[in-house]
Symmetry: C2
Subunit: 293 residues, 2 copies
């Protein structure tokens, strides 16, 4: 069993997602809260300039800058590309121990509750997710596969994952979700501590996951402007089944648009504010019950 030596918690990777920002500020003020005896815990604000500007990013989305080409290109000049390289140097310093775990804190305007987003199927992450979601059924597990260095911060290491909390508007703190997120972080740190100490008390051998299978964009006109809104029946219905023929959008003149897929799927990230510009109205997932060894 490989021991975990260093854990990083990052908040404010997106500057207008305040839950992570204020949790990191709290952890930096009270470091004992995230201290565990068997590993070192770093806490880090991802995008200080965007946090100060109360915006997602300054030049480009920081959480798409952690790919091999951008990280190795010394000629990069956007603020976020430079910041991505700084963060990589902090988390993976040359000639020193890299972090083993990255926990990246996000919020979404979608109704995703407390979601753990895994970029790979690492057995330890699945066990962690299975145990946490068994204790707290509000926790959902979303598998959005990303190869190492695909651009997301969490892809920097095998044990990287995001915590995605919603629904929270950009630029807003929701006290209840703040406290639930904080509790979830402590549960994860405790789990890793138990893991290091061989006291891994896994009791849950099945796990429900939502696995990304595609994206749906808004209907758009020839110049890319959206022509419809999320249908009221789908609004806030993340993780709920969407059947072929179900209403999915409502256009501005009140006409319904129906889901054209061939099978039942489970939309996630429905109506996320930051995804309008990315051409994503929602992620589409499959719901699967998997066995954990």
């Amino acid at each position: 069993m490989n021991q975990i030596h260093r854990v990083a918690i990052v908040g404010g990777n997106h500057g207008n997602e305040l839950t992570g920002v204020y949790l990191i500020k709290k952890f930096q003020q009270y470091p004992h809260l995230i201290h565990r005896s068997s590993f070192e815990t770093l806490s880090l604000l991802g995008n200080p300039k965007a946090i100060a500007a109360r915006t997602r990013y300054i030049d480009t989305d920081l959480n798409r800058c952690f790919n091999e080409s951008q990280l190795s290109d010394v000629k990069t000049s956007s603020y976020e590309e430079l910041r991505a390289r700084e963060i990589q140097k902090i988390l993976q310093p040359q000639n020193q121990q890299s972090v083993d775990v990255i926990m990246d804190l996000h919020t979404t305007t979608a109704n995703m509750g407390l979601c753990i987003i895994l970029g790979n199927w690492h057995p330890l992450l699945l066990k962690l997710a299975a145990d946490l979601s068994a204790v707290n059924p509000l926790i959902k597990v979303y598998i959005h596969e990303q190869p190492k260095g695909s651009g997301f911060l969490r892809s920097l290491c095998n044990l990287g994952f995001s915590i995605e909390i919603g629904a929270v508007p950009q630029g807003v703190l929701n006290a209840e979700l703040f406290q639930q997120t904080e509790k979830l972080i402590y549960s994860i740190l405790d789990y890793l501590e138990n893991y290091n100490q061989g006291r891994n008390l896994q009791e849950n051998h099945t796990l429900t996951v939502y696995k990304l299978i595609g994206f749906v964009d808004y209907p758009r006109n020839e110049v890319g402007e959206i022509q419809a809104m999320i249908h009221p029946q789908l609004h806030l219905k993340d993780y709920q089944p969407l059947h072929p023929g179900d209403p999915i959008f409502l256009n501005f003149t009140g006409e319904e648009i129906f889901y054209q897929g061939n099978s039942t799927v489970y939309p996630i990230f429905i109506n996320e504010a930051a995804y309008y510009e990315k051409g994503i109205a929602m992620h589409i997932s499959q719901k699967e019950l998997i066995q954990i060894c």
Copy 2:
């Protein structure tokens, strides 16, 4: 009775409040929707650069730039100050008829439903508000007194008001609220048409208003950082009574902070994202039942 000749509907005064933006785009595509026989209706996007950037503003809040000194200062250089002067020239052209009515469309992350914000006590606005709120009890009326030229777009004319819709995150469309806002706009245009034609069918002679009496800021530290969040019991409770001693904030270590006022008040704009930087956690209002002649 003074006739109404020109009515302006403005959306996207704040670029990330999408309901107004897409309603204006709809009205510009289908102008017959806002056409009425007895007056001209203009529709206008307030802040095109901020709309394109999906942000509230570029340099400064456009909806604080409509004051005498900024509008008359030809040396102003911020994008929004220049844009405010452009808008003034459109709405109040020299040697031509100024608009008589300004309807300024906004959204808020606060749970304000369908709110009409009046900057003054003009009898026609009160009658309009009384009749509309009698027909649709979801409509609330908020009096936020502002002298002419105080900085808000609606203060440019006596019959200026805002429509404030929420809760909607910044950068997000909510189909149901979009349709309710659209319907409200048509009701207002119909009301003005009836007024012009002497068919003013006022049946409601009382009106409940929420009248601004002050602001409450978040607790902050010496460098201005917020130290607490809106209390979960107050979250989304706009227009509900807040009594002395009721919990109002929760700080980051979980301690409750209680309302210190001497009398029961009615908070509005609770947890509006854009007001964190303005030093406003909520507006405080008095609830009053007024008589309309």
